[in-house]
Structure formats: structure tokens, C-alpha cells
Point group: C2
Chain length 221, copies 2
């Protein structure tokens, strides 16, 4: 597998951007074996709200949030031409061999294997990293609605600068919230996986990453 | 099975009411074989929003919305003492035999059997009716946040009166939206199932229905 590509739920806030990304992934899949992992977006946000109001056990909100990824995955598959929603890791290679995009729905696998900490520090970023590790993928690409990880929150600070490259160990030391989940750096160092955080608004950046060329993004090494 | 009890998602808007209902169901299950079917509530509402913004195929939003029922079901199971979340119809009798409440998560069954029209006319009401039919349950009880079905929308009309009894055929003829889904009357007449719409704010009404006694609710015969 060339890459596991997580499509962030926030992209659904700009339908034309999301449709563009999905069409591009569909084209890319004709030549490159790639697997899409869905984010949670609004589907997981509802779970977060229930957790806040009802103080659920971590394993309950974890499971509910991953069902949210399956919902977003069914949706992504519906708007991505030539894609196939799949629930088994073993099915993915067969789908990519046909030049199609598998959209992996992680709930069943996560219920069976439960490999990660059950907490809100583990979101679809870490789950996508786990899938990439299991598939032996060369790259993990997190497609989101910002250019990458910044020195400060770019939505609040005009002088925030894009971090072009960072090690998983450095990221682990950062105290503040970034555009990736808290557990991800730990998983990346264990799996020795190269990870890229990239803006879905510019799908050519995704192509450049797949081709191993320079582009605007954050690379976590 | 004495009854299939659908717990409507709207009850989560008043946590203390919902917790009260769940505790009562837990007590009831010690003596009465009952199965809980979850509503969709906010989890399905998010799907409705996506459907409106992206014009999804009916089968896609149908599947996504039923995943929303599984989410609400995991949640209900977490706040209902002595309950067990179950994905197979065959497992329910064993759970009730132990005096526990099974909370049925319908996604897998609905994906396998796909027995109902894929549209927004089919919501958790119809799915609960289908489960009741499959289980040969004596009663279907829809627990919601209003006293039953009214002659007019009670939230907008002060002179709206509660309908105490209505036939499925009469309900089918009503043009306006009621507190139950459009497809339900059709299913009820086919299954020859007695259905009760009742307010979760007063859990003793649920008990009275189970005991075959008079109470404030709408009975669909």
C-alpha cells in the first residue's frame, strides 16, 4: 500500500472542497494503491457532546465515536467515484488491485482488536496510523482544513508559522493542542511511519506527497 | 417477548428523564421479558443534515442513520443498569431469561436483511416494529417526549387533543406529520401488532401498558 489517506471530517464543512478531494483520490487510485480512512467530524462531535452531558465511560464514547467514523466513511464512499466501503483489512488489497479506492470502515476491526487507548486522545488520526501500520503502508497522509501543524494556533495568531518538518518525539513534547491527536506521535515513532499533514483545499499537494516531491505541508518523521 | 420498547432519542434532551426511564426499564426487566430498541436522536439528525447538504442516495443515508441507532443504543446500554447491548436477534431471549435488558443494535441485522423501504419515512419507529414482529412480541411501546399522537401538533396548538386510540388504517390516512414515522402504520397492520405511544416523563405509564391497564397514551390498534 502506497499510502493510507485520512480524510478529515472538517472538510465536509466545505462541500466543494471535499468533493474535489474525493474525485482526486478516485483518479489517484487508478495508478496508486491507496486506502482512505474516514475522520469522525460532526458524527463524532455529537458523541463528544453526549460524553460531556452524561460522563460516559471512556470505552463507551470510544466505541460510539468510531461508529461515527463508519458513518463518515459510508458518506465518503458515496461521494467518491469508484470507491468501495470495506470492513476487513484483508479486502483492501484486492480493491486497490482493481484501481479502486477502498474506504475502510474501522468499527468492526477496532471492536475485535481494541489496540489503542480508549480516550479522546485517540481519534481518527491514531486509528488511521494503526491501519497504516497494519497494512505496512509507506506513508500516512492526514488531509485536513489547514496547511499543516503551526508554531501557534493559526486561527488565533497572525504570526503563526507552518512547521515544515518535525520529529514524532518533538511533537510528543508539545503541550498545546495541534491539528493532530495527542496519541499520534507515540504511534508514529513505534511504527516508524512517515506522516504528512496537508490541506485538502489544494489536492495537488496530496499528489506531490505521493510522488515524494516537496510541497506545503507538515512532515512528521 | 412481552414488549419491544423503543426509547426515543429526544429523551436525551432531558437527561434526568432519560435516566429515570432507563432505571425503570432495568427494574421491569427483572420480571418481564422486554427488549429495548434505540431511537436515532441527534445521531440520526446529523445524517439528515448531511443528506440535505449532499443529496445522498436513500440507501446511503438509511445505513448511516441506522448506525446512529447503534450509537444511541451503545449509549442507552451504558446508562441502563444490568443491560446488555446485543447485535443478534437470537441473543435477546437468553438475556431476558436472566432478568436483564437487551438493548438491540440493529445495524448488522438491517444490513443483512434490508427488509424496509430505504427512506426517511422509515425511522427507528418502523425498525422497532420490525424487531417486534421478528420476535413475536405482544406489544410495541414507543417511548417519546410527548403524551402520544395528537389531533394537531401540540407544540403549536393549544387546543390539540390526545388521540387515545386510533387504527393503523386511520393513521395511514392522516396527511400531516405525527410523532411516529410514516411507514409505521403499514407495518403495524401487516404484523397485527398493538402499538403504544407514551411519554417517557411518566415511566409508570409504561408499567401500566405492560400490565394491560388504562393510562395516558395513544394506542394504535
Amino acid at each position: 500500500m502506497d499510502a493510507v489517506i485520512k480524510v478529515g471530517g472538517s472538510l465536509a464543512e466545505t462541500p466543494e472542497v471535499l468533493r474535489d478531494v474525493c474525485n482526486k483520490l478516485s483518479e489517484l487510485a487508478e495508478k496508486n494503491p491507496i486506502t482512505v480512512v474516514p475522520g469522525g467530524g460532526r458524527f463524532s462531535d455529537v458523541v463528544r457532546g453526549f460524553d460531556q452531558r452524561f460522563s460516559l465511560l471512556p470505552e463507551v464514547s470510544h466505541q460510539m465515536a468510531i461508529l461515527g467514523m463508519d458513518q463518515f466513511g459510508l458518506f465518503l464512499s458515496a461521494i467518491t467515484p469508484g470507491s468501495i466501503a470495506a470492513r476487513k483489512l484483508d479486502d483492501l488489497e484486492k480493491i486497490t488491485a482493481e484501481g479502486k479506492v477502498p474506504v475502510f470502515l474501522p468499527f468492526n476491526m477496532m471492536l475485535d482488536e481494541d489496540p489503542l487507548e480508549n480516550s479522546w486522545d485517540v481519534t481518527s488520526d491514531s486509528i488511521a496510523a494503526y491501519v497504516a501500520k497494519r497494512l505496512g503502508a509507506a506513508k500516512l497522509i492526514l488531509v485536513t482544513d489547514v496547511d499543516g501543524i503551526f508554531t501557534k494556533d493559526p486561527k488565533e495568531n497572525a504570526d503563526a508559522a507552518l512547521i515544515q518538518e518535525v520529529t514524532a518525539a518533538e511533537l510528543l513534547k508539545l503541550e498545546r493542542r495541534t491539528s493532530v491527536d495527542k496519541f499520534l506521535p507515540k504511534l508514529l515513532s513505534e511504527a516508524r511511519l512517515d506522516c504528512y499533514v496537508v490541506n485538502g483545499k489544494y489536492p495537488t499537494r496530496i499528489i506531490r506527497i505521493l510522488e515524494g516531491r516537496q510541497t506545503i505541508c507538515t512532515r512528521i518523521v
